[in-house]
Symmetry: C2
Subunit: 387 residues, 2 copies
DNA sequence: TCCACTTTTGCAACAGTGTTGCCAAAGTGC
DNA sequence: GCACTTTGGCAACACTGTTGCAAAAGTGGA
């Protein structure tokens, strides 16, 4: 591979624009319903004629379709275009220690099916993988159209690029498991693996901006310098922004979306949120240090002090919001789901007290599984409109 | 403006590739010297013929030039191409409270001149701005070619997009100063404003990867999903990676480069590193909270405990490396420059003790001013190779 | 000294992108 | 019924990178 083969030729250009259009239609599909060619031209900055050509190609491929007419405003009414959401499906799996949750989603990433099964990671790897593959197959079997692959969300540390697990707390025989390739071989389908926090963050990203009005943020583009991202930086089709997904379950971790893109770091290590020191002389953590946020937070949970846990989570969130200038915070994980309102309020309170006024929300319970499915759908909205 | 006008047409494509080539030549200019057309083709992934056309256009514009021949390897020797570094110049200014440091740089961002002058922010804004403008003019006057603008690095908080200062600690009459526009008016030149930490981070980014061998990091590109950045994400022409610049002076802040791009956040607020809580029951900070890293660190400095300050900085760095999976840490700021070796060692020690083995370096003293100049040079390496 | 060989670069023709100019289609409103 | 507005497609176009081929400029061996 080239060290930095980022030169763009005509096929790349075409793929980029096609993916952009498809992404806008995906976002629209999850909101009102559709967009016209004129809408797309306005939002992409391309000419209407270019959009016509692009949508014609996508229509030929069966990825989008026309959908009636909009109400006219004094001229010819706009023809609606929408994602042919049923044209492709994906399976997303959340491996949560003792439970497996699988969802089937359409091309827009919307859930259209669900399965749950117990999962015993204590079994031999080969057996367990067979069970996981069987669940994925069973989920895929309910799809009305082709299934393009399966995504898996699981606790880190792991390497997203290679799909290899580094370590699974409590189950040392899983260390080094080539999860992606093993599942892909069993399924005969493309498989993608990522941390549960990253998967959930993708689901939140795809769900679009917070329903309520967001915080004030000027949209004025100006002539100042901006080293870094060139053409092509974009988010989930809607407002580009930043948020952190904080996951409190058997551990504490984060999924970071910065400027509309998930930040994984070079070794899929980003998001290690739980082992920040917040009490230098605090109690020892199993990581070897003292005063880690995770240790304090889980201790509070263990003694039933959910308010205290939420407050601690709020402190960590405040640190993070300050460091990254993040627009909103989303909470998730089994512990949070036990008292969503309490955690939301507790975290928001600490954030406000520290002058970091950002909206706080709770992610849907299936966010990890949904996001895992998005892992395999992503290529459609990035460049894979080729072929 | 379009909400997300990221559609790419032919001019955008051309600009992207031209900027990419120029950026590679800039990086080369700061290292060995030059690259041939064949080198560029290899690194961009474009065909040699495309590179020939692109370089011909850049040569017509006087931005690059041929530079002798490489040693042949059994065929026609490669013709060297290099940035016409003297074709453009820029001024970078660091406003550091009581001192102004201005540098003149060439197109490659290399320093070719320097001026220092006392600065009294206690004076009326108008007077002080006049003095700053005069220094910039004096610096620009020494340039052998056209000066395309001036960049200013100053302590935050401020808004990079608008160039407006929010607040200058100790000098309330500067609040709300439209620094960018005021200077641009006085100079008749484009001006860009950014936080000192961001400017320094840009300088570190432009300087390229750490001279010694970097940490291991697989370069295998694979077929997994990667929602987010599409074409065009790139860094300073060299290895794309992440690092944090930590600035310890009269305050404590950070400049974050993630995946090769400076992360500013939506409100230029990113990098507020000093007000992370690391001691929940610690001493009060002027920000209103307790146990902020900045308060602890500056207290250590005040009592002459530089080792203690370095250790605290190391704790903060470890938190940050864990959260963002960062490849290296770079230190800077007046306090660090007082004992570079001690801080480097102290921070590295804490990082290692916490299992975050990343290289630690100290930035050159003029990093902020140099980075400020890069703010105005950036458009050349992003898209401004247009008409 | 000559000649095959390799490698780099350029010229010319080409494929395919988005753009421009123009026009038919399909509504509203008087 | 007719002027007007708006949408979207057809055709010609400009300009991108690509492909095919040849010239330039070296090496190395006979």
């Amino acid at each position: 591979m080239h060290p930095s083969a980022s030169g763009a030729n005509l096929p790349v250009l075409r793929g980029h624009n096609a993916a952009l259009v498809l992404d806008l239609l995906r976002a629209a599909a999850r909101a009102d319903g559709g967009l016209s060619r004129a809408d797309l031209a306005e939002r992409t900055g391309l000419t209407p004629q270019a959009v016509s050509k692009i949508t014609a190609r996508l229509r030929t491929r069966g990825l989008i379709e026309e959908s009636g007419h909009r109400a006219p405003t004094g001229g010819k009414p706009r023809t609606g275009l929408r994602l042919a959401a049923g044209a492709r499906h994906a399976v997303g799996v959340h491996l949560d220690g003792e439970r497996l949750t699988a969802v089937l989603t359409d091309l827009a990433g919307r859930q259209v099916g669900e399965r749950t099964a117990p999962l015993d990671l204590g079994r031999p790897v080969d057996e367990a993988l067979g069970a996981v593959a069987a669940e994925i197959r069973a989920t895929a079997a309910t799809a009305s159209g082709p299934v393009i692959g399966a995504g898996v969300g699981i606790r880190g540390p792991l390497d997203h690029r290679t799909g290899v697990l580094h370590r699974v707390t409590g189950f040392p025989h899983w260390e080094g498991c080539r999860l992606r390739d093993e599942l892909a071989r069993r399924l005969g389908l493309p498989v993608a693996v990522d941390k549960n926090t990253n998967a959930a963050a993708l689901a939140v990203l795809a769900a679009g901006p917070v329903p309520a009005a967001g915080p004030a943020a000027g949209t004025g583009v100006e002539a100042g310098a901006g080293t870094g991202v060139a053409i092509g930086a974009r988010g989930g089709g809607a407002t580009v922004g930043s948020f952190a997904y904080l996951h409190l379950g058997t551990g504490l971790g984060a999924g970071l979306v910065l400027d509309g893109a998930l930040h994984r770091g070079g070794r899929t290590g980003a998001g290690e949120f739980g082992h920040q020191a917040v009490q230098l002389d605090g109690p020892p953590c199993k990581c070897g240090n003292r005063g880690c946020l995770e240790a304090l937070c889980l201790a509070a949970v263990a003694r039933g002090d959910l308010r205290g846990a939420a407050a601690l989570l709020g402190v960590g969130a405040a640190n993070l919001v300050a460091l990254l200038d993040i627009d909103r915070v989303v909470l998730g994980g089994r512990t949070v789901q036990a008292d969503p309102g309490g955690f939301r309020a507790g975290v928001a309170e600490v954030l406000a007290a520290r002058g970091r006024r950002v909206p706080v929300a709770v992610a849907p319970p299936l966010a990890v599984a949904e996001g895992a499915a998005l892992l395999v759908l992503a290529p459609f909205f990035t460049a894979a409109a080729l072929g």
